[in-house]
């Protein structure tokens, strides 16, 4: 155990022990521990195996940035042990090692496979013999990846909750700057939301011993009304929308002003053996010690480029870590060097670590003057070697600016700081703290306050005093950023020894790989990224982008600005797919009568966005019931529009090819809606209710599009017409069959005789006590009444009609019987019997186009042309004598077996006792009695053409 005595600000609760397993072995930690800290305290040093070479990897950043400690928790891969809190009974397992973490067969790739695994090796090594590629591919796919997802894993199923949140100011990052920004904006009256990915806000301040200040600022923010989401990671910036992942919730945050206080990421140094367990960033070691009271090692070598490494050395010495040597790359180390020397530790100016050696963990490290290692360009390092079990490195800091860049901020290489710093900021976006170049606690806090005030002022909040304060802070901030703390710029590669120098720990990309990539012509950072996969791993370039750019610049003799950076894209942090999937929104429309269909055991299917009754168990019997007695179908799904106003008739005349302005009140006319190109887009009926009011029905699936189409033209024409879509407001049923009239007489006082209520009449009456609009039309070919009533009475109407029809043998019928019935009448279904090329002329409906209308109408120009040209194909009916029903979509062949048409509808008609259908055939074969050949799944069928309806061709039944 390497647990330290209680540390000020530690996160663990020592009185509460948490037990879990790692690879089946029991481990104990404390509440507040991470998996990483508990395992480290228990003596574990190897946490994972690397992606490609299967090298041992241990804790490095302890901040959830690097890939070194990725494990599976309760079967779910991808958790970072260094940030994932321990839970009682959790099952933690290693990834990417077989048979185990300590002995991994695939680590042979590291020892023997170097020549076989250069960058892009799968394009080079495994391409011959070509026929073996499928085998190679399988092996490579099996070997690649970080963990396996079980196909069935019931205890891993969860549903993400989406929460949408609007806020005036969103602050991302809960360090000193973020907390201060949030509190400042909230104190001026802004609605502020702060998200922080730590278990509680405070950021680096807690690690650096400023937990008191952090706590005070936290309380201040809360008191000012700031909502704080901790353990919450901002995943990206999408035009102002910031998704934030917090456990099982995905917050979709829309803010007017954004403050990013996302901090900076400590950079590793590139040297031989820099990935050995025990090589750790200074921040990582300090986090282990201060947050979790875990001693990171016994004897350390420290290599730094700034005061931060020196401060870490002092902190480590305080907890009993022996310092073997401290290398400061600067020729003149900063003030903390004196404190280090006072501890009796030698500080070596101008030196850095050039090699780490060891087996399971680091055992010794070599420190050398940086000039020597740079000059010899990869020659074995010369210097002093120290035995140690810990190598602390600090290669500078890079602003964590991914979100800012996604928001539109620009970066430019800052040679003084040695990294890409923010240059231009977009409107409504503010940066605060380390990401903006502030370093010490005072300037962090100052920049946070400034950002908070600026955000509030942008919202129109604040007062003269706050504006004056902002001006003063701006001056102080400018001074603070003008003089960054002294830091040395590390060489691209500090030293190259026997072992590999890793630029990218996630993807196992070495300095040699980058050099080879350049040599092979991949000489831009974006090409190099795609070729070597550098920056494409779980860290998303946070810990390797600068190193790879620096190396490319050195190798190519260019500046870092010339090399540039890769593009940052969301998500900025790996996120489970389940989090993004979210809860399903599958809106289903149901008619007001839907419940009755369920009770009648209807087979329900999707029809567009509606749930509809397909049949009630026996579609054939339902067809026959309509012919012999009566049937009742729910047609509430029909689109229904009220078109009202003095210009309503003229408006419809312009939209339909036939004439509607001369329709008498109480009469109905069929209409087809054409596109500008004269193609059929929808159909339905139009009933004139009074001089200024028309009731228009459309197809079920076309309702929305027709309403949009009408609205669009109405806006353009500016006529005195008002549209109201009442599709969902009215239930509708079609009562059809020879007994329909008798049934009607039992539910209404309306005179339903043929003389009083003719075919194509529309009347208003009470049906079973409910106010209804009754349209005498017949889509299914029998005497029929389409009855429309308020949706709230739909069930009552349905029940009343079924009850009244019971003695006559009425049956409810569904969509499938309706399709058979309408096919017998050769009534088209738009979208099934027509396509985007179908015109009324081709669809055998030339009678509906009234070219003698005075008014212009949509599609007129095209229809005039079609009227003078004979259509190449025509929609006709057909019968088949051998009883086989061709598949809808089957091809109609010409004599030479070339496709010349297609079957659009086909069914067996139980009343006609034969197969009937509709098909597009060449105009020359569209006469009654012509035969056409249909090819259907290898069968050839001979069909006989028919141009008139199969059932009641003269419409006598309909009109009776």
């Amino acid at each position: 155990m390497s647990r330290l005595p209680a540390q000020p600000g530690e996160r663990i609760a020592r009185e509460r022990v948490v037990r879990f397993t790692f690879d089946g072995h029991p481990v104990e930690g404390y509440e507040g521990d991470t998996i990483g800290s508990a395992l480290y305290a228990a003596g574990r040093r190897t946490f994972s195996r690397s992606f490609k070479y299967h090298r041992r990897r241990g804790l490095m950043c302890c901040a959830g940035q690097c890939p070194n400690c990725i494990v599976a928790v309760d079967g779910a891969p991808g958790a970072r042990a260094c940030t994932e809190p321990v839970r009682e009974g959790m099952r933690v397992e290693h990834l990417n090692a077989t048979p185990g973490l300590e002995f991994d067969l695939m680590s042979a790739v590291d020892r023997f496979g170097g020549a076989l695994t250069p960058p892009g090796f799968y394009y080079k090594t495994f391409i011959r013999p070509r026929k073996l590629w499928p085998v190679y591919e399988k092996v490579l796919r099996h070997a690649a990846g970080l963990g396996r997802i079980a196909k069935v894993h019931p205890d891993r199923q969860w549903q993400t909750e989406y929460r949408r949140r609007h806020t005036d100011v969103l602050v991302v990052g809960g360090g000193l700057a973020g907390l201060r920004a949030a509190a400042s904006a909230a104190e001026l009256g802004a609605d502020v939301l702060l998200v922080d990915n730590g278990p509680r806000p405070g950021g680096r301040a807690i690690v650096d011993g400023h937990h008191g200040t952090a706590g005070h600022l936290h309380d201040k923010a809360v008191a000012a009304g700031v909502e704080i989401l901790d353990g919450a990671t901002a995943l990206g910036y999408f035009d102002g929308l910031v998704p934030v992942w917090q456990g099982s919730t995905l917050h979709q945050i829309r803010a007017q002003e954004h403050v990013f206080a996302t901090g900076a990421v400590e950079q590793p140094l590139v040297f031989s053996g820099n990935d050995l367990p025990g090589v750790m960033l200074s921040g990582g070691a300090c986090r282990l010690a201060s947050l979790y009271a875990v001693k990171p090692g016994n004897r350390a070598v420290v290599a730094t480029t700034s005061d931060r490494g020196l401060q870490a050395a002092i902190a480590l010495r305080k907890i009993g870590v022996e310092l073997a040597a401290v290398a400061d790359l600067r020729s003149t180390p900063g003030p903390p060097a004196d404190a280090v020397r006072k501890l009796g530790v030698e500080v070596l100016p101008g030196h850095t670590v050039v090699e780490a050696q060891g087996g399971k963990t680091v055992a010794k490290a070599t420190i050398a003057p940086v000039q020597a290692s740079e000059a010899d360009g990869g020659a074995p390092p010369t210097g002093r070697t120290f035995e140690c079990d810990l190598v602390i490195t600090s290669g500078g800091f890079v602003p964590a600016a991914s979100l800012l860049v996604q928001a539109g901020a620009k970066t430019r290489y800052d040679s003084q700081r040695g990294h890409f710093a923010l240059s231009d900021m977009p409107k409504s976006v503010h940066a605060a703290g380390e990401v903006a170049g502030y370093e010490d606690a005072d300037s962090l806090s100052c920049s946070g306050k400034l950002a908070g005030l600026a955000a509030a002022h942008a919202l129109g909040l604040g007062n003269p005093a706050s504006r004056k304060a902002a001006d003063e802070l701006r001056e102080r901030a400018a001074t603070a950023t003008a003089h960054p703390a002294a830091a040395a710029l590390p060489p691209a590669v500090c030293g190259q020894g026997a072992s590999k120098c890793f630029v990218c720990h996630c993807e196992d990309v070495t300095a040699k790989d980058i050099r080879q990539s350049i040599a092979e012509g991949y000489d831009s950072i974006e090409l190099c990224k795609r070729y070597t996969t550098v920056t494409m791993g779980p860290c998303q370039g946070r810990m390797c982008e600068l190193q790879s750019v620096r190396l490319m610049a050195q190798e190519m003799g260019r500046s870092l600005d010339e090399i540039g950076t890769t593009t940052t894209r969301p998500p900025t942090t790996p996120v489970p797919m389940g989090v993004l999937a979210g809860p399903p929104f599958e809106p289903a429309k149901r008619s007001a009568i839907h419940g009755r269909h369920r009770e009648l055991n209807a087979n329900v299917m999707w029809a567009g966005d509606w749930r509809r009754a397909y049949d009630y168990g026996d579609p054939e019997a339902e067809v026959l019931a309509v012919h012999r007695a009566a049937g009742l179908i729910d047609v509430s799904t029909l689109g229904k529009l009220l078109v009202r106003g003095p210009d309503a008739g003229e408006f419809l005349d312009r939209l339909y090819p036939n004439r509607l302005s001369n329709l008498k009140p109480g009469r109905i006319r069929y209409g087809v809606i054409n596109s500008d190109a004269g193609r059929i887009v929808d159909d339905g009926t139009i009933c004139r209710l009074d001089d200024d009011t028309f009731y228009v029905t459309t197809t079920s699936s076309g309702a929305g599009a027709v309403e949009e189409w009408f609205s669009w033209w109405l806006t353009d024409w500016g006529m005195r017409v008002y549209l109201t879509d009442i599709t969902q407001g009215l239930a509708a049923v079609n009562l059809a069959g020879p007994k329909a009239r008798e049934i009607m007489e039992r539910v209404t006082e309306l005179d339903c005789s043929n003389e009083a209520f003719k075919y194509l009449d529309g009347k208003r009456a009470l049906i079973a006590g409910v106010p209804c609009l009754i349209l005498r039309i017949g889509f299914v070919g029998e005497l029929g009444y389409e009855i429309h009533c308020p949706s709230a009475h739909g069930e009552h109407l349905w029940d009343a009609l079924l009850q009244a029809g019971e003695e006559f043998g009425i049956r409810p019928f569904g969509l499938e019987p309706q399709r058979v019935l309408r096919l017998q009448k050769m009534h088209i279904l738009v979208g099934q019997d027509t396509d985007s090329e179908s015109t009324p002329f081709g669809a055998a409906m030339p009678w509906i186009v009234k070219l003698d209308k005075e008014e212009d109408f949509i599609g007129r120009w095209a229809l005039e042309r079609y009227s003078t040209e004979s259509a190449s194909t025509t929609l006709v009916g057909f019968t088949l004598s051998d009883g086989r029903v061709p598949t809808e979509g089957s091809v109609v062949l010409d004599g030479g077996q070339a496709p010349i048409g297609q079957v659009t509808s086909s069914r067996f008609s139980p009343v006609l006792r034969q197969v009937i259908g509709m098909a597009w055939v060449p105009a020359g074969r569209a006469s009654d009695g012509d035969t056409v050949t249909i090819a259907d799944n290898g069968r050839t069928l001979q069909a006989r053409v028919r141009t008139k309806p199969f059932y009641d061709p003269d419409g006598e039944v309909l009109r009776s």
Partner: protein, 248 residues
């Protein structure tokens, strides 16, 4: 020919027929344990649990009540006519996004040329008469349509009501953005909807009649996670006098 076939309240009891208007969410309400009563021609979910329990839900979490029976009238006309009719109400000020509450009805300007008036069924006749009188006086083309059954409705009430909405809607319902009396057309559960802030922590949400079951499920799933439950219409407090003055 009139548009009476759109009017659910025009149903009459005759010999052999007793039509009762039903909400599209009645089955859901029954499944959730609703006590259904017939009032004013509608079958209404008046309660689900003891009144104290429902009051607790409303005061500590979020409750939702089926208000589909509310009468709704849509008026369309040229903008100047719509505004003139709107401001014919005493102290009404026409502003898109702000509803006017008067005499038990919400007058919601949804667009310059479109007004939606929502009221209790008991107020329907008088509100319609008022509108018809205004239409008659307008001397310009006006369309007045009963859209009661085109829109189902839920009232979501309680301190967590905004959090319930946040689970299925991106509407900004924060008090300073959507104060009492604000009307917000927008997407609810990815369907077109209209939300009226009726009172502090109380929202009336309108949506398509045919998607009501689906919307109920979305609301139920969101609210139950937050400790909410359905409440009967009797659990809703009458909108107070202060709200009546909204828009004045």
């Amino acid at each position: 020919m009139s548009l009476e076939f759109l009017d659910a309240s025009a149903a009459v009891k005759t010999e052999g027929f007793s039509p009762v208007a039903r909400s599209p969410m009645e089955r859901r309400a029954r499944a959730a344990g609703a006590q259904i009563e017939e009032r004013g021609g509608w079958a209404l979910a008046v309660a689900y649990a003891a009144s104290e329990q429902e009051a607790q839900t409303i005061s500590h979490a979020a409750g939702w009540a089926d208000m589909s029976h509310l009468a709704k009238l849509e008026l369309q006309a040229e903008p100047d006519v719509v505004e003139a009719i709107f401001v014919s109400n005493p102290s009404a000020h026409f502003e898109l996004g702000t509803a006017h509450r008067t005499d038990g009805a919400w007058w919601c300007p949804l667009a310059p040329s479109r007004l939606l008036v929502i009221c209790e069924p008991s107020r329907f006749a008088s509100v319609r008469r008022q509108l018809e009188d205004a239409v008659g006086a307008a001397r310009k083309p006006v369309s007045l349509v009963d859209v009661t059954t085109a829109f189902a409705a839920l009232t979501i009430v309680g301190p967590l009501s905004r959090e319930v909405f946040a689970r299925f809607s991106a509407l900004d319902l924060r008090p300073h953005e959507t104060p009492v009396g604000a009307v917000r057309p927008g997407s609810v559960a990815r369907q077109p909807g209209v939300v009226v802030c009726e009172d502090e922590d109380r929202f009336l949400m309108l949506f398509g009649w045919a998607v009501a079951e689906y919307v109920w499920r979305q609301v139920e799933e969101a609210a139950r996670r937050l400790g909410g439950s359905p409440v009967g219409i009797d659990a809703l407090a009458p909108l107070d006098a202060a709200v009546e003055e909204v828009g004045g």
